[in-house]
């Protein structure tokens, strides 16, 4: 999906400047303790991030919301590092880019993200998308607590839909180990959800 970007640039940069002004006002008020402004800031920023990421990561649409949330948490935790005189766009963009790269690096366990992004900075605030998808975050979080011999079989068979034989091949486990792993892993997950371990 390559869209013609050239003639959009002027409109985009005006929109980006407008968003910078609005978001910065909300954010600064939020830093001073105005929770309503802070809420509005995070909400609006989430929309910008969502649109930004959807366009860039169209190959993993299910994970966009996870990354949006990662970035929002990061922005929140790093809010004391913002200098009021600096452009909010640059600050937010640096965090978004860092978290996106971090997420993808963890995902591929490999530096697959080499696309130069600096020229895209203006686009971050240029569009907004307020429709949030339900994140897979909770399942992922629970799964990540399991040891690999349980986690991988569940991941491949239950979430990705591979057969037991295929999973055995991918993970290097034996077929019986995959079956046992699913069985015990699901039990362990259930225990974690009930909070008994």
């Amino acid at each position: 999906m390559v869209r013609p970007r050239v003639h959009k640039n002027a409109a985009q940069s005006t929109q980006a400047q407008e968003t910078e002004r609005q978001l910065k006002a909300l954010f600064l008020a939020g830093l001073d303790g105005d929770t309503q402004c802070y809420h509005a800031f995070l909400q609006a920023l989430g929309g910008n991030l969502r649109a930004f990421l959807r366009r860039r990561l169209s190959n993993i649409p299910d994970e966009i919301e996870d990354i949006v949330q990662e970035i929002l948490i990061a922005v929140h935790n790093a809010r004391h590092t913002y200098l009021p005189d600096e452009p909010l766009t640059a600050w937010t963009y640096a965090i978004a880019r860092y978290k996106m790269a971090d997420y993808l690096r963890g995902r591929y366990r490999y530096e697959a993200w080499n696309e130069p992004l600096d020229s895209q900075r203006q686009e971050l605030f240029a569009e907004s998308d307020q429709e949030a998808a339900q994140a897979r975050r909770d399942v992922d979080k629970l799964l990540s607590q399991l040891p690999d011999r349980y986690r991988l079989p569940i991941l491949h068979v239950k979430l990705k839909g591979l057969s037991v034989a295929e999973t055995a091949q991918v993970t290097g486990l034996s077929e019986s180990a995959v079956k046992v792993g699913i069985h015990r892993g699901l039990k362990a997950l259930a225990a974690k959800i009930r909070g008994t371990t």
Binding site: G33, T35, L72
Partner: protein, 213 residues
Amino acid sequence: MKTDDLVALLTNHAEPADHTLVSRRYWRAMLISAVGAVLLLLTGYGVRPDLPVMLGTPLFWAKLSFPALVALGAFLVIARLARPGLPVGRRWTVIALPVVVVGAAAMLTLGLAPASERLAMVLGISWYTCPFSIAYLAIPGFIAHFWAIRGMAPTRLRIAGAAAGLLSGAVATLIYCLHCPEMEVAFWAIWYVAGMLIPAVLGAMLAPRLLRW
């Protein structure tokens, strides 16, 4: 969790930002860095016996100003790198300038000296321990400055780690000057720089693990 819920949750934890937190953290790290190096110096090396004489010697102050300027430059760079989206810009030159000046002065003094003495000027009497002593004195600062940066939000981890390592190395060198008897510029140009580079390189290597957030 839905993003709307997350936003609500974060909003509930949005107490007003503490503007003094950052500078307090930096100062504490600087203090630990310097005091830690002094303690290691006093316990392991001692102060050079002619220090009172040295305090009146311009060359000694020139020697001190070399690591002091590098430390200043490294600090200016870190203060930028620790915040997302800030360009470092020309602050690099504050680090480069003293190194270049000392390097040029070293060439000059070596050029003016008779060829037979040049090697002795470079090696001094402690070249094989000097860089490692500096790296040793840098340990408290290394930990402290990494701790300070971890409280910020660096997005270029390796380079931030290198700058933090360099800062600890420069402070350590400054303190080490109270012990080190070497007074040849050529010696400083090689072995002091090597000593500062050890924690800097280590910092760059460890940064992706230590500074990830």
